[in-house]
């Protein structure tokens, strides 16, 4: 019985071999080794090919080109730039322009999106329908098409400077852009600004103190009105008392163009309009879903304990809706930032247009330029999501 014949032994060892291959750990190890080998081979091939291709085209790799003179001008820049400055400086100009349009776009899109999202839930049938039409039309048309529309069909079709359309408040709109009065601070304005800063700091302290007091004693403090007084009222009072140390420089038509004031270029306007209007339609849907996601009982309970309609929205519904809204809102902000790269199509000098466009064409350093562009966008994405995740954790439901 206990004797094992040769045949049985062979079968058993065969069986053991098969069983060895069927063990999950062994299989997983094999799969992973195969994947690593394939990836290493792929990367080796890519790097090898790229290196030999670059050698053949006589392109030196590396970042030495960053210090060379750019030799081109940029139409809009937040920092000093001219053609005698370096490619590195041009990169900075593009990055700042991207951040500017993305930052402003996020603010405008959020406001517009919240208004339209709430309008979609309005009890007024007509308003709700109009908001729905806006959302369905805008989000089903490509952003690039909308940018072209605003830039080529609207802003570039405006009249020349001499027949400018005037904008209320001393501004002018023409084919060269939107001309607005620019503020000119005079002696004494520093004091007003300082008082406003102090007002903001005091308001924050007041907010913290009032919150703590309400938790301890239940007494409320009119934080909003006091803050408004500190931030707006007091500086305004000082401003008037000092004899208005701030004047406006108005744009004036001289010859063929406007002088003075400040100008928002049509490229910038078109990009800002397109990005905000497009992203707002997505934010509106997110806001609607968030508000609808708060259970009806919460609103009814808030009304039952005597809160007004506005209070119930502000104190009960919106804070809970924010928990649903924030994660998708974050990805919309990131989308807007990434979409700002479409600037290249209408000639706004953003990062992609200046750096991956002009600089790449002039230097031919495709690998370095594209890698840097991707790294910048990755960094912006990671920083934004880290911040929004932190914010989201603060807002999240605290459970046992």
């Amino acid at each position: 019985m206990a004797v094992v014949t040769g045949d049985q032994g062979r079968a058993r060892s065969h069986h053991a071999q098969a069983a060895f291959l069927y063990r999950p750990e062994v299989r997983q190890a094999i799969y992973q080794v195969v994947l690593v080998v394939l990836l290493v081979a792929l990367f080796y091939m890519l790097i090898h090919n790229t290196a030999s291709n670059l050698r053949k085209q006589n392109i030196a790799s590396g970042f030495a080109f960053v210090d060379r003179t750019a030799g081109f001008d940029v139409s809009q820049s937040l920092i000093d730039f001219n053609s005698s400055m370096t490619y590195g400086r041009a990169f900075l100009v593009g990055l700042l322009n991207t951040l500017l349009v993305a930052g402003l776009g996020i603010v405008v899109a959020t406001i517009l999106g919240f208004v339209i999202g709430i309008a979609r839930l309005s009890t007024n049938w007509l308003i709700a329908r109009l908001a729905a039409v806006y959302v369905e039309v805008v989000r089903n048309i490509p952003l690039l098409l909308q940018l072209f529309f605003w830039y080529f069909a609207v802003l570039k079709a405006l009249p020349p400077p001499r027949q400018s359309l005037s904008v209320p408040g001393g501004g002018f709109l023409n084919v060269r852009g939107l001309y607005l009065p620019s503020p000119v601070p005079e002696a004494g304005f520093d004091l007003v600004a300082l008082i406003m800063l102090i007002g903001i700091a005091t308001s924050i302290a007041l907010y913290v103190w009032a919150g703590r007091r309400q938790r301890l004693t239940g007494q409320q403090f009119p934080v909003f009105w006091t803050s408004m007084g500190l931030i707006v009222g007091l500086p305004l009072l000082v401003h008037v008392l000092l004899g208005s140390p701030m004047s406006f420089e108005y744009p004036e038509l001289k010859g063929f163009n406007f002088q003075g004031g400040m100008v928002l270029q049509p490229e910038f306007l078109a990009l800002l309009l397109g990005l905000s209007i497009y992203t707002a339609s997505f934010i509106a849907e997110i806001v609607r879903a968030g508000i609808q996601g708060v259970s009806k009982g919460q609103k009814e309970a808030a009304l039952a304990i005597g809160l007004t309609h506005g209070q119930s929205l502000r104190l009960v519904v919106i804070p809970q809706a924010m928990r649903i809204i924030i994660p998708p809102l974050t990805s919309q902000f990131l989308n807007l930032t990434k979409n700002s790269s479409l600037a290249v199509a209408i000639g706004y000098p953003d990062l992609v247009s200046v750096w991956s466009g002009t600089v790449l064409n002039q230097t031919g350093q495709a690998v370095e330029v594209i890698l840097v562009t991707m790294c910048v966008f990755l960094a912006i994405s990671l920083i934004t999501s880290a911040f929004m995740n932190w914010f989201n954790r603060r807002m999240a439901l605290v459970e046992r």
Binding site: L46, P142, V352, M374
Partner: protein, 371 residues
């Protein structure tokens, strides 16, 4: 019985001010002063937009003409003859005129497969799907590219207009779907290296704009390949778009996988199903059904993003409209606007149609959950 009829006879009609159109207007438009004010603002807005649209598109529009000069008069609206003159270009690009029947035939074959597939009542879904996903792509490829069976070879550089938009979108969708499922499964895998590779790919692609991916596909891909090997420009864009969409799709599908209860995985394992069968027969059908809205949204996004290929020099619908807007023969102040409105309308039809269809399917699939 007598009591019953008495009760029935005594049921009063609802008060006159709670039913009917007047009551509807009162409760939906004029329920309070602020509401009435909103209604007035809304009516004013509607009137302004509608009258501007009708005036531009119909009343002051131009309908016939041979060039842009007919649209240059003061206060002219839409320049519709521009669209009718360029319509063939918008649809086919520079595809040779004598060969355009091939494109039409592909559209017809696609419709013949898609329409019965999309109507839930039509039987034979299995063979229908085989046709749409296996047979049709092969036929379409040979019909469009040509070079065999006596068909003239048409270089992809000549393709354009709606044809390129549809080719990029459908190949992008077809290519990104399997890759997206693989990446989603990879991200949920127990094998650390597979997981890291998937996470790395997904987060990298989601973190950068599509333009940079397309730039990479058009500028860097030639550098990556061995010297002498060249790639078709359209194919490069297709690879870029498919890889990009796959990363987004993977995240959507991962959401579905996470929503499947553990018991389903354990039950499938307890039955002795292999990994492939467990996923293919038990988990994925449930997970994909859960995330249909997300998948369709990704596809709508992909369809809209196809317009970006114009930046790397391909002429999709928007690209060809943009190109023709600059045609000096049709120069007029309203040419550009007319072209964009037309292109926007075509894009809108496709995207809106897709979103409505997905809502219909969603309701159908949710029928089992409503009990």
């Amino acid at each position: 019985m007598v009591a019953d009829t008495d009760v029935a006879a005594n049921i009063e009609a609802p008060p006159r001010n709670t039913v009917g159109p007047i009551a509807w207007i009162r409760s939906n438009l004029l329920s309070s002063w602020s509401n009435a004010l909103l209604t007035v603002i809304g009516l004013y807005l509607t009137y302004q937009v509608a009258s501007a649209l009708i005036h531009w598109g119909l009343i002051s529009a131009t309908f016939t003409g041979a060039d842009g000069s007919v649209c240059t008069r003061e206060g002219a609206g839409a320049c519709w003859p521009f669209i009718s003159a360029k319509f063939a270009q918008f649809m086919y690009g520079r595809y040779p005129e004598a060969e355009r029947w091939r494109v039409d035939l592909v559209y017809l074959l696609a419709l013949a497969g898609l329409v019965p597939l999309m109507i839930p009542r039509v039987p034979g879904k299995f063979w229908n799907a085989i046709y749409v996903f296996v047979i049709f792509p092969i036929i379409a490829f040979f019909l469009l590219v040509g070079g065999v069976f006596g068909l003239l070879h048409v270089d992809t550089a000549l393709w354009g207009g709606l044809l390129v938009t549809l080719v990029v979108a459908t190949v992008g969708i077809a290519g990104s779907f399997p890759l997206g499922i693989l990446l989603a499964l990879g991200r949920r895998s127990k094998m650390p290296i597979v997981r890291w590779v998937s996470v790395g790919f997904i987060e990298f692609v989601r973190g950068v704009p599509l333009i940079t991916v397309l730039f990479m596909a058009s500028v860097m891909l030639p550098l990556f390949l061995p010297p002498g090997v060249t790639f078709d420009k359209l194919l490069r864009a297709l690879i870029g778009v498919a890889l990009f969409a796959a990363a987004y799709l993977a995240e959507v599908i991962r959401g579905g996988l996470q929503a499947i209860p553990r018991g389903q995985f354990e039950a499938a394992e307890a039955l002795g199903l292999s990994y492939g069968k467990k996923m293919g027969l038990i988990i994925l059908p449930q997970a994909l059904k859960l995330v249909i809205p997300g998948i369709v949204n990704t596809f709508i996004g992909l369809f809209k993003d196809t317009s970006l290929v114009l930046i790397i020099g391909l002429f999709d619908l928007l690209g060809i409209v943009q190109l023709n807007n600059a045609d000096s023969k049709w120069f007029s102040p309203t040419t550009a606007m007319t072209g964009y409105v037309f292109a926007g309308f075509v894009f809108w039809i496709f995207c809106f149609g897709m979103s409505r269809y997905s809502q219909m399917i969603e309701r159908r699939l949710a029928a089992g959950d409503r009990r």
